[in-house]
């Protein structure tokens, strides 16, 4: 579990990037917390800097959109999903449990 920040430091509509490898983006979408891979599956852009609307985040480079609940792209140019990660809050602190990377023995 990786501590991210205090819950009150990630208000509704905000996002934050954590410098894991690969980096992870955490979003507060209307009170629900979501975590996905930060790097767009299309090319090199940080989704934590994207446009959050409902459960969708739009990539700041070429406007692909991803569903935060599933990591699936909802439009081009992205054609592959980003990974989703589990988010919990304990003692007022947001934590992320990174998904096990495919092909690694973690």
């Amino acid at each position: 579990m990786i501590p991210v920040c205090r819950l009150e430091d990630l208000p509704v509509g905000e996002s934050i990037r954590i410098d894991t490898t690969p980096p992870i983006a955490v979003f507060n979408a209307d009170g629900e917390l979501y975590a996905i891979d930060d790097t767009c599956s299309h090319q090199d852009a940080s989704l934590s800097e994207g446009w959050l609307e409902g459960c969708l985040v739009e990539c700041p480079l070429h406007a692909a959109s991803f569903d935060l609940r599933t990591g699936q792209p909802t439009c081009l140019p992205a054609r592959r999903p980003v990974r989703t990660h589990q988010v919990t809050v304990s003692d007022g602190v947001i934590h992320v449990r990174p998904a096990v990377q495919e092909g690694t023995a973690a």
Partner: protein, 413 residues
């Protein structure tokens, strides 16, 4: 409509093919492309493809980008060419198109009902999407010396990359536009000795205006590249390989590799015998419709409502409108995209959106031009007309959306 032919199998052509199917066209779809490759993405060619870094998509795996996508898997390049592919086998199956690759179209009959192919074949068609893009402009009178490159196609990029792989070289990039700047930056990253020569007193003034062009020009020396401005090229020296670039004032720059990045010319030559109006592109109305209602044009080759863009985003946005109008047989929809482009150089991401005009004032809204990035707003009569960001994606996104909400058709601006 029973048959639609898309001429040009790259970004805009592929998006048009997708739109045709998405908008319910279930007839015969023919895609004619001069290059032997399946559609691939050009922007990485001057960026991560040249430096050989595959970007950050590696962790997700290159699913679906198998050798069958055509542009991949042949000479050299290896895995990172897979990252350039715009389609995969699954999507190609869904498109159910006839691909005529490695085939140049050489003409369109006066009614726009027959596409003539270089090899003598013809394609009878009911509708045509022109998506033939643009080619790199060449130096006038330039004989083909070894070591002199342009950068427009995958083959160009492979050739340049191979030449840059043989140890440190003296590279002269002719032209300080975006592709020239990105190429210079990539060459510097690879450890080469790089000089950019620009004929104008300052590069990128038409795109960014003087003030911001100055800021972007400063990226070159910061990245270890020499920038020589106000320096038209007189001639190239060397036989059979280039050895030096001579400037108008007589200066000679020793060079092992020369990259000519002096713009692109729209590929309209094949349409000379057609009835379409040509003039720096295929002339279309605001809805990408040409003089013939069953012929539309999209992407770098299209002059839509008086404006020809050479941006990735225009090439991906125009096809939806063009196809709607093609299937309707008249202009029922207009393209009103906000011009947008990005460029990556010297570790910075530059993004620009909007329609700037000379005389607009520029205000730094965030950050500073001397520091680690900024957002600049172009303003006229108290209204924001355009925005430029260097490493400020988040505020840029906000302002880009605001600008898009108020965007007018290209011709009304």
């Amino acid at each position: 409509m029973r048959t639609v032919t898309v001429v040009g199998a790259s970004l805009a052509g592929l998006y048009a093919a997708r739109e045709l199917r998405a908008q319910g066209f279930d007839g015969r779809l023919v895609i004619v492309g001069e290059e032997p490759h399946r559609p691939y993405d050009r922007p990485p060619l001057s960026k991560e493809f040249l430096t050989g870094s595959t970007g950050s998509t590696g962790s997700a795996g290159a699913t679906g980008q198998t050798g069958s996508t055509g542009s991949t898997g042949s000479t050299g390049g290896g895995a990172d060419e897979g990252h350039l592919a715009l389609t995969d086998a699954e999507e190609e199956g869904q498109l159910a198109a006839e691909w005529l690759l490695g085939t140049r179209a050489r003409g369109l009959d006066p009614r726009g009902r027959t596409v003539l192919l270089e090899d003598g074949r013809t394609v009878s068609t009911d509708g045509v999407v022109i998506a033939t893009g643009a080619s790199a402009r060449r130096l006038p009178g330039g004989a083909a010396l070894a070591g002199v490159h342009t950068l427009r196609t995958l083959d160009d990029a492979r050739a340049l990359r191979a030449e840059l792989a043989g140890g440190p070289r003296r590279v002269v990039v002719i032209g300080g536009g975006f592709i020239g700047a990105e190429t210079a930056s990539s060459c510097a990253t690879l450890g080469h000795d790089v000089t950019v020569v620009e004929a104008a007193p300052l590069p990128l003034v038409p795109q960014l205006g003087r003030e911001m062009a100055e800021v972007c020009a400063a990226l070159h020396p910061r990245g270890g590249t020499r920038l020589i401005t106000g320096a038209p090229v007189a001639r190239l020296h060397g036989t059979p390989a280039v050895t030096a670039v001579e400037l108008g004032d007589g200066r000679r720059l020793p060079a092992d590799v020369v990259v000519v990045g002096i713009g692109a010319v729209p590929n309209t030559g094949w349409l000379a015998g057609s009835t379409l109006a040509l003039g720096d592109g295929v002339l279309c109305d605001d809805g990408c419709v040409t003089a013939l209602p069953r012929v539309v044009a999209v992407g770098d080759v299209a002059r839509v409502g008086g404006v020809r863009a050479e941006h990735w985003t225009s090439a991906t946005q125009q096809p939806a409108v063009a196809v709607r109008n093609l299937l309707a047989g008249r202009t029922v929809d207009r393209a009103r995209p906000l011009p947008y482009f990005w460029s990556d150089q010297y570790g910075s991401r530059i993004q620009f959106a909007g329609r700037r005009r000379d005389g607009d004032t520029v205000r730094i809204a965030e950050g500073s031009t001397g520091g680690d990035g900024f957002l600049a707003l172009y303003e006229r009569d108290g209204v924001t007309t355009a925005a430029l960001a260097v490493d400020r994606p988040r505020p840029f996104m906000r302002i880009r959306r605001e600008l898009a909400r108020t965007a007018q058709p290209a011709s009304a601006a």
